[in-house]
């Protein structure tokens, strides 16, 4: 077993895992926000990520260093998220969550084909030009762009937490999440909060996408894995558990990486889903003993 033959590979897998997980965790934050505040599962999450990536790619193609594309992606997606909220989402906020799943599914397939039309169907990537760093006598390799992504994600996550705690809008968001009617009675404009939350989610995805463009590759139709991983991370963490999202995200990344070594890459995604099913069933069984169920 290669992990036993080459012990430093364990550390390598762990590092690779959490670096991969960080980007998913960032996207998961956005999803947790939207889910917690508006009770909406945004199936178009992955598409927002890829779109953010394409915007950074466009910046790259224009000759500018893609790192500067990060704020561009962030702001463009923020505006886009706001528009989508005002056009479509506001109609489904008060309806059954299932409705929102389908509505955002419809939005996701629209975005996919629109991206295909605008950006073409080639696989693209943005080159950051960051190098590689070697540790422990060359036994551990870390691509600096991945490290950079990791740092950005952590900073992003902490910023969101700080923002939510300190700023007025942040507190308004939290209040609305706890009890929308009470917040309204106390003077919070919940419509504005919802719009802002959704836009913020899109912006976070845009930032994550920007990192994806530099670290991996882009294609109009590869958004689904990001959506799906965000789901899983939020569920495993439990809704409302924002710091837990970060831990879950990194953990998921590590699990995936290790399972690539242990079980083989082709089973990776199947294992991840099976894990999801098992966790859910186990949790519900535990609650059922107390005659409760997962909310």
């Amino acid at each position: 077993m290669i992990l036993l033959q080459a012990p430093f590979l364990n550390l390598q897998a762990l590092l690779d895992g959490i670096m991969v997980g960080a980007i998913f965790a960032l996207a998961a934050y956005g999803m947790a926000l939207v889910w917690g505040v508006m009770n909406i599962i945004n199936v178009a999450q992955g598409e927002f990520v890829i779109l953010g990536g394409y915007i950074t790619f466009a910046v790259f193609k224009a000759g500018i260093h893609p790192v500067l594309g990060m704020p561009v992606s962030f702001f463009v997606l923020f505006i886009l998220g706001y528009l989508i909220y005002r056009l479509i989402i506001f109609r489904v906020v008060d309806k059954d969550m299932f409705i929102s799943i389908l509505a955002t599914f419809g939005i996701s397939i629209m975005i996919q084909q629109i991206m295909n039309m605008i950006f073409g169907s080639q696989v693209e990537t943005a080159l950051s030009g960051f190098g590689t760093v070697f540790l422990f006598n060359g036994n551990i390799t870390i691509a600096l762009i991945k490290l950079f992504s990791f740092v950005v994600c952590i900073i992003g996550a902490l910023s969101i937490i700080y923002f939510m705690k300190v700023s007025k809008m942040g507190r308004a968001i939290r209040a609305t999440a706890q009890n929308a009617r009470a917040a309204r009675i106390l003077g919070v404009d919940t419509e504005k909060v919802y719009a802002y939350t959704y836009a913020l989610n899109a912006a976070i995805c845009g930032l994550a996408g920007s990192l994806v463009a530099m670290t991996y590759t882009l294609h109009p139709y590869i958004g689904l894995p990001y959506t799906v991983r965000s789901f899983m991370i939020v569920i495993v963490a439990g809704i409302g558990n924002i710091p837990g999202v970060l831990a879950s995200g990194l953990g998921l990344g590590a699990v995936e990486e290790f399972s690539s070594y242990l079980i083989g890459t082709e089973f990776r995604i199947g294992i991840v889903f099976l894990l999801l099913v098992v966790i859910l069933v186990y949790r519900s069984k535990r609650l059922a003993k107390k005659r409760e169920y997962l909310k």
Partner: protein
């Protein structure tokens, strides 16, 4: 269990369509076969999603399983399965007429029974979840099934599996009901009507009432002493049975089984069945049927005329359906013309009601 006039006219329309369509529109036979199957998908989804209030994204698992099981049986009955699916296999196997027509019904029966058994076994675990957790869990099952199928070499893995070809004599298809297209068309038609009448009967019994009770308030139903889990699982077993057979037939129509795109097609068929039921009106018997017809018509329309934009159009349609018709066509009809549904409405009293609009 009488039929009222509206229903009778509906059934007659479908019967006529079913019997004459292959002759009137011979080049659309496969589309119409698909339509019958869509109606089956939507109607069985309705048992969970509509009647019971458990939105499932995982019924596709039974569809895919049924497909693979039937095809495997058809092959394994006469030839070693592993060799048929072996990548780059150099041998060619040809079925004789007897082999084909003996294996096919066996395959179809197994395709119905095995997924039903699995639903029975897993049901008590999965159906313990509620609400969106149930939806997500079933989504996970659907995707995991597709992923594992891609790795199963005996089923051809990522290469997929070719279904046995309709037996030929002298290079021409043998004439049973007019060839393979007509034969499988007839099967889909029969399957749909079996599903329809079975569900119609099922919903009219106490079983239907209990499902509705579970949807309305499961805890209260349990408090009244109803063993809800048993009913939930039975409903799932019924869905699994019909979906499995539907999968078996579809595999033969398509001729080729690809794990995530044909069999466990969660992103297409898995979502379509939900949309069709919602479009037509979930919870009613005819809702899924109407939804399936409208959806299929639109889908074909988009693919012919909006090529290049078709997914944008489809996404747009989905958003419209979901935002403006969440109760579906049937629900919308019920609202504007409740007399059609046998509800008596006191017009004056209704107008006298005052609705307080809130921003809730």
């Amino acid at each position: 269990m009488g039929f009222d006039k509206k229903e009778l006219s509906g059934i007659t329309f479908l019967l006529l369509l079913g019997v004459f369509a292959p002759f009137l529109f011979p080049s659309y036979r496969i589309q119409i076969s698909e339509l019958w199957l869509f109606m089956v998908y939507a109607s069985t989804w309705n048992i969970q999603g509509g009647k019971m209030g458990y939105n499932t994204f995982g019924n596709i698992m039974f569809f895919g399983l049924g497909m693979y099981i039937c095809a495997s049986t058809q092959i394994a009955y006469s030839f070693p399965l592993a060799e048929w699916t072996a990548a780059g296999g150099v041998k060619t196997f040809v079925h004789t007429v007897e082999q084909y027509f003996t294996a096919l019904p066996i395959g179809m029966i197994l395709a119905g029974l095995i997924p039903a058994a699995i639903a029975g076994a897993l049901g008590s675990l999965i159906l313990g979840l509620r609400g969106h957790y149930f939806a997500i869990c079933t989504l996970g099952i659907g995707i995991a099934a597709g992923e594992f199928a891609t790795s199963m070499k005996i089923w051809g893995g990522g290469q997929g599996m070719t279904v046995p070809v309709w037996p030929k004599v002298d290079g021409q298809e043998i004439d049973v009901l007019g060839g393979s297209v007509n034969f499988f068309y007839t099967l889909t038609f029969i399957l749909f009507f079996c599903t329809y009448f079975f569900l119609r009967w099922l919903f009219s019994t106490r079983f239907g009432l209990i499902l509705t009770a579970i949807r309305d308030n499961e805890d209260k139903a349990e408090a009244m002493g109803i063993p809800t889990m048993r009913y939930k699982v039975t409903g799932w077993v019924v869905s699994a049975f019909f979906m499995g057979i539907a999968g078996a037939i579809y595999g033969n129509i398509n001729g080729y089984i690809e794990p995530t795109e044909v069999a466990f097609a969660g992103a297409t068929v898995g979502v379509y069945m939900v949309l069709m039921a919602i479009l037509g009106g979930k919870g009613t018997l005819w809702g899924p049927i109407i939804g399936a017809i409208i959806f299929q018509v639109f889908k074909e329309f988009f693919w012919t005329y909006f090529l290049g934009w078709q997914r944008v159009a489809l996404g747009f349609l989905i958003v419209i359906i979901v935002v403006f018709f969440p109760e579906g066509i049937m629900g919308w009809l019920r609202r504007i013309k409740p007399e059609l549904f046998g509800e008596v409405v006191d017009r004056k009293a209704r107008l006298a009601q005052v609705t307080i609009k809130t921003n809730d």
